[in-house]
């Protein structure tokens, strides 16, 4: 029931559209049931000579219209009037069918649109950490195929339930007054057909699943073969692959065939039962009609009604199983929507950030007792550059992530211009702190749009300026379409260093007072790295800058160096201070000496070897 509640919630805003769609279905069904009544009167009382039947709630209307049009004497000479009424009935039924289709499409599509937008929006506001840990494939699956399942159910199946109920209601109200016996005969097999349909569709679910899973295995083999074509060829395993694929191909073929065979059983048995129902009505009806108990028109009306009833009854089994699927999908979507999101605007929103930073006894952990950052304290003045050095997993990224509140520390305080960052709204922080991630993500837009991602209204001049600072202007110019070159599948593939530089350009274009480079110059060569940093320093409002890097020159030029190990700051100071201390920083610097040693050793060895080695000539 909880799931139905979820479904009901999703339908908010479109419920009335559904109600009128279902009412339209009801109207269409009513008109469809009225059709045989007109035929009945025409055959029995206009063409034939029988008096019009009086029992039945529609009969007074029919009699009124009959008399209004002039009674039998007029009507039998202008039979076309009956035909016109039949056509008009169909036309108005068609109008209802059309509106039902239109309204239910509008309702289900706007629900689908709402779900898509809501999920997308919700995902974006989920905390940073959620996305670090997220299983992308599963999320995309939920956003696409689960939404599609719900949409399919809402657009096709939901109204079907309404149809079946109306169908039964009208069937009984039209049939019973004509003949109770015939009604009983007409409905005698319906429960069995219904139960058979439901049972079948529940059973056939496993066959559907088996076939789907087999298809999945087939695609996996195919996918792995195609993407691993080098391995296949290099090991000359074509025959092996062909056999492997054939095995899956046969399996999928057989399981699908098995499924179709099951459907063949279903349709033949269910058609057989339905046709038996029709025979029963026709033969018994003929007998009663021949005996004068019912009229020919009544017999024809009953045979029409039975035909109309059987199809929705058989569909209902399927609707019920599809409903099960849709409810599962709704739950999976709701799981995403239940994840708590970040509040971007809670806290101080009007503050001018200068860039003075203080960390005081800051600790951070995911699980208690397992500290990622421990008791970190340091101070940075506006405009200074801080370099951070440390092994993988020492907490460098987490440390800088505390500033724009991608993470919130549990102990201690992080202050910007003397204000605890937790008191400032995330929006303000992130708008004022530019952070370039280690593996930047470029969107599939033009390079220009990628650079002005955060400041949509940036002018071309500013874009060029940012690109020049990031040393990527000339690269972009060298592409055929320049700044209008698309990135991604349909455009150019950028190298790691080019991507990093575009990401830098899009970050600095904002002129943020605080900049963070999370190892984001690693794929850029040393000279370009230095050039970018030099240009940043020359800017008018020099930003307070954090750089996570292993490059010696980058470290040496910083105003302050933090050496991080296992979440603790083990060393802190300027290059000159640290170079004289025993520690990690000094050891990293010593590598340069070892290189010189290594090369001079090589030289000695080289001299020796050259003297007695003749085999090194290349042909």
């Amino acid at each position: 029931m909880k799931k139905f509640k979820l479904l009901w919630n999703f339908m908010k805003g479109n419920r009335s559209l559904y109600v009128i769609s279902i009412l339209a279905v009801g109207a269409a069904i009513f008109l469809r049931f009225a059709w045989p009544m007109v035929l009945r009167v025409t055959i029995d009382s206009i063409i034939g000579n029988k008096p019009i039947e009086t029992s039945g709630w529609m009969q007074p209307v029919i009699i009124r219209v009959f008399d209004l049009l002039g009674g039998k004497s007029v009507l039998e000479k202008s039979l076309w009037m009956s035909s016109i009424i039949l056509i008009l009935l169909t036309l108005s039924r068609g109008i209802f069918i059309f509106f039902k289709g239109k309204w239910s499409a509008i309702a289900s599509e706007s629900i689908a649109r709402k779900i898509r937008n809501d999920v997308y929006d919700h995902l974006q506001y989920l905390p940073y950490d959620y996305h670090v840990k997220a299983k992308t494939g599963d999320l995309i699956q939920r956003c696409t195929s689960d939404v599609e399942t719900i949409r399919g159910f809402l657009s096709m199946q939901l109204v079907e339930v309404g149809r079946a109920i109306f169908m039964l209601f009208f069937a009984l109200s039209f049939m019973l007054p004509m003949s109770v016996e015939m009604t009983l005969v007409s409905l005698s097999l319906v429960p069995f057909i219904f139960v058979f349909a439901v049972v079948f569709f529940i059973k056939v679910k496993t066959a559907f699943k088996a076939s789907d899973e087999s298809e999945g295995r087939l695609s996996t083999v195919l996918q792995e073969n195609l993407s691993g074509v080098r391995v296949v060829r290099a090991f000359a395993r074509q025959k092996y692959e062909i056999d492997k694929f054939d095995e899956r191909n046969v399996e999928y073929r057989n399981l699908t065939y098995k499924l179709i065979r099951l459907l063949a059983w279903y349709w033949s048995v269910s058609d057989f039962l339905s046709l038996i129902q029709i025979i029963a009505v026709t033969v018994l009806g003929t007998y009663w009609a021949a005996s004068g108990i019912i009229t020919l028109g009544t017999l024809l009306a009953f045979t029409s009604y039975v035909g109309m009833l059987l199809w929705p009854v058989r569909q209902l089994g399927r609707v019920l199983t599809d409903m099960g699927k849709a409810l599962v999908s709704i739950e999976r979507i709701q799981e995403i929507l239940n994840e708590p999101i970040e509040d971007m605007d809670e806290g101080i929103s009007k503050v001018k950030i200068e860039g003075n930073i203080e960390f005081k006894n800051v600790s951070f952990y995911y699980e208690e007792g397992h500290l990622i950052l421990e008791n970190v304290s340091f101070k940075v003045k506006k405009g200074q550059t801080v370099a951070i050095l440390g092994p993988t997993g020492s907490g460098k990224s987490t440390l800088v992530g505390l500033l724009p509140r991608l993470y919130d520390n549990q102990k201690g305080t992080v202050k910007i211009d003397g204000i605890d960052v937790k008191k400032i709204s995330k929006r303000v922080l992130r708008e004022n702190i530019g952070i370039v991630l280690q593996e930047p993500f470029l969107f599939s837009k033009t390079l220009k749009d990628n650079i002005r991602l955060a400041t949509t209204e940036a002018e071309e001049k500013e874009i060029f300026e940012a690109a020049k600072i990031a040393s990527v202007h000339d690269v972009i110019r060298s592409f055929e379409d320049g700044y209008d070159t698309a990135v991604g599948e349909k455009g150019v593939t950028l190298s790691g260093g080019q991507k990093q530089r575009v990401a830098i350009a899009r970050t600095i274009i904002n002129g943020s007072p605080i900049l963070i480079f999370d190892d984001s110059l690693s794929a850029v060569d040393t000279e370009t790295d230095a050039a970018i940093r030099r240009r940043l320093k020359k800017l008018k409002n020099k930003a307070t800058t954090f750089i996570i890097s292993h490059r010696l020159i980058t470290l040496a030029e910083a105003d302050m160096i933090l050496v991080l190990d296992q979440g603790k700051i083990v060393q802190q100071g300027t290059h000159l201070e640290l170079i004289g201390q025993e520690g990690l920083y000094e050891r990293v610097w010593a590598i340069q000496n070892s290189l010189e040693e290594e090369l001079s050793l090589e030289d000695e060895g080289l001299r020796e070897s050259l003297e007695n080695d003749e085999n090194l000539k290349i042909s």
Partner: protein, 609 residues
């Protein structure tokens, strides 16, 4: 090398040649298809009989008020119903069989051909495109042929039968009732085409939404740092609103079609009632006949709708067929000539007994090569590699290192000149022979779903358990494999997803060494793994290269340093060559590369100590 792949536009006209090709796939099912046709004919026949049965009942029992023999009537009716149920069972069964088997055949043929196509095809064709041909397109063709046949035979014969019976029973009434048919046919085909087109647009928009979700989710971290959430949503809403519009449009079109065809059809029914009724009153037409005409006029429209749908789908099916055949008809760029195939065997039937032993000497003799005409990557290239020698290739990404490897492995062939293995042009030997003597480790290791054991055994299918374990031990993979819950039987997951990159690399070494190849090609990984695994991998590399002719696209210093010769490749040319010491002396590209690399490696050692 990778040119942007462009989907060519497909013609809209009926393509006879194409359908003839397709017909070849149907030959094995000729008998089944004829049988299916017969069942559909029978189905239509009985469908036509039901209203005739009602006519009989009306004219012989109801109107004269006679009940004699009605039991017999019921029994005959029952017989017809039983026959119809059997018809239904068999037609679904046979059509299903044809559909699944045809799809199977198309896939099989496609896969077989894909195993023969050369790398030039793979380089220019995205995997996703190939996947779509092998899955949805072949599926669509299979179901179009079988169920299209069902609908065409059933629909066609049902409409013809109805028309004929009507014409026989009452020519004038039949002609009057059938006047609406031409309009219906034209309208149906027109509508079905519109509907199909509208739904195609829906599918296109849908794939855009999938793409947007993909980007939104993978780019979420970036979005956060740039505070771009609301902008992104705005852009996303453009897609969802587009989806809303095109879906509603498609739905409206299809909900317009049914009422239109129903109303038009009811004109036919009205005509039957009007003129039939007058006939009854004049005593020319029986009640039964009039009712029959009314029933037929209603019954006429379902087959019409189905046939219109088949016609509309024809275009889609043809596009699928064109795409599949463009793949199947592609001629492999590199293949053994018939003489070679005759002597050394083919993919399906290798003649290993005729394969000569291999020493491992590789000679590039005056090789000129280009991926694209006019853009030579190599020109008059000379290189002689002795058996057992290790060659390291260094240079920037895209410099042409992999071209050399591709040529040596005969994934591509030289445009001019020749490549000789043990002094004989490799085109005079079979590709399979060369590849069977080849060990190949890719930069990003590719594993197949299945157990670790199966993945190692990919190197030699008949390897015993002991041999597999020995190979794993040689490359120090045994340790981590043993630690896993199911040891060698552990599943690696799709593409090896359950293993770490380092573990995958070790497995791919074990797999290569099991082949005991004479020639080894290694594209060294650049991705970093933890120090311990890194050391294992380094050790594995040295073990594997021992005594084999090897080509290494190298990134790690120890690998490069220990090579017999180092080639520095820049823009497809060898700019520096020699051993480590010589190249250091030159103080050129290699010198820079080496010193930078040295610093990086040392730093990571110091930092992670």
């Amino acid at each position: 090398m990778h040119s942007a792949f462009e989907e060519k536009k497909y013609s809209k006209k009926f393509d006879l040649v194409l359908w003839k090709k397709l017909l070849k796939f149907c030959i094995p099912y000729k008998k089944k298809m004829i049988l299916l046709g017969l069942f559909m004919l029978a189905l239509a026949g009985v469908d036509v009989l039901f209203p005739l049965m009602s006519r009989y009942a009306i004219d012989n029992y109801v109107i004269p008020g006679n009940t004699d023999g009605i039991l017999w009537y019921g029994l005959v009716f029952l017989g017809l119903v039983a026959i119809q149920a059997l018809n239904i069972f068999f037609f679904i069964d046979i059509a299903g069989k044809i559909e699944t088997h045809l799809t199977y055949d198309i896939r099989k043929k496609g896969f077989l051909h894909l195993q023969e196509l050369s790398f030039n095809y793979y380089d220019k064709t995205p995997v996703g495109w190939l996947m779509a041909r092998m899955t949805s397109d072949s599926q669509r063709l299979g179901s179009f042929i079988s169920w299209g046949l069902v609908d065409m035979v059933w629909g066609g014969s049902l409409m013809i039968l109805i028309a004929v019976i009507m014409l026989i029973l009452n020519l004038k009434l039949a002609l009057i009732t059938l006047t609406v048919v031409p309009v219906l046919v034209v309208m149906s085909i027109y509508f079905q085409k519109l509907i199909l087109k509208a739904y195609r647009k829906v599918r296109k928009t849908n794939s855009k939404i999938t793409g947007a979700f993909n980007e939104g989710i993978t780019g979420a971290k970036t979005t956060k740092t740039l505070v771009r959430e609301s902008e992104n949503l705005k852009e996303f809403q453009v897609h969802t609103s587009q989806m809303y519009r095109s879906s509603v449009r498609a739905a409206i079109l299809s909900s317009l079609y049914l009422p239109a065809i129903l109303t038009l059809g009811s004109i036919g029914t009205g005509l039957a009632l009007w003129f039939g009724g007058e006939g009854v009153m004049a005593g020319i037409v029986t009640y039964g006949t009039m009712v029959l005409f009314i029933s037929y006029s209603v019954q006429f429209f379902e087959p019409l709708r189905e046939m219109a749908r088949v016609f509309a789908e024809l275009q889609n099916a043809q596009a699928s067929a064109e795409r599949i055949f463009s793949m199947i008809d592609e001629v492999p760029q590199i293949k053994d000539n018939s003489q070679v195939t005759c002597e050394f065997g083919s993919i399906m039937k290798m003649k290993q007994e005729n394969w000569p032993d291999i020493e491992g000497r590789i000679t590039f003799d005056n090789v000129t090569f280009s991926y694209k005409e006019g853009e030579n990557i190599l020109e008059n290239f000379q290189l002689d590699i002795k058996a057992g020698e290790t060659i390291a290739l260094v240079g920037e990404t895209g410099s042409g290192k992999s071209t050399l490897v591709n040529l040596a492995c005969r994934f591509y062939e030289p445009n001019e000149g020749s490549i000789k293995i043990d002094g004989i042009d490799y085109r005079e030997r079979s590709m399979l022979w060369l590849h069977s003597n080849l060990g190949y480790v890719l930069q990003t290791p590719h594993l197949f779903s299945g157990s670790i054991k199966e993945n190692i055994a990919y190197g030699r299918l008949d390897a015993s358990n002991e041999e597999i374990i020995t190979a794993a031990k040689l490359v120090d993979a045994h340790g981590f494999i043993k630690k896993m819950k199911n040891g060698y039987e552990s599943e690696v997951g799709e593409g090896g997803a359950k293993l770490s990159t380092g573990e995958k690399q070790l497995i791919s070494f074990a797999r290569a060494i099991l082949t005991d190849p004479r020639i080894f090609v290694l594209d060294e990984a650049t991705s970093s793994v933890d120090t311990e695994t890194e050391q294992l991998i380094q050790k594995a590399i040295h073990t594997v290269l021992e005594g084999r002719t090897s080509f290494i696209i190298a990134h790690r210093l120890s690998t490069i340093r220990s090579a017999d010769r180092i080639l520095v490749i820049k823009n497809g040319k060898i700019t520096e060559h020699g051993n480590h010491k010589e190249l250091i002396k030159q103080k050129g590209y290699y010198y820079n590369l080496y010193t930078n690399q040295f610093m990086d490696e040392q730093k990571s050692i110091v930092l992670n100590a």
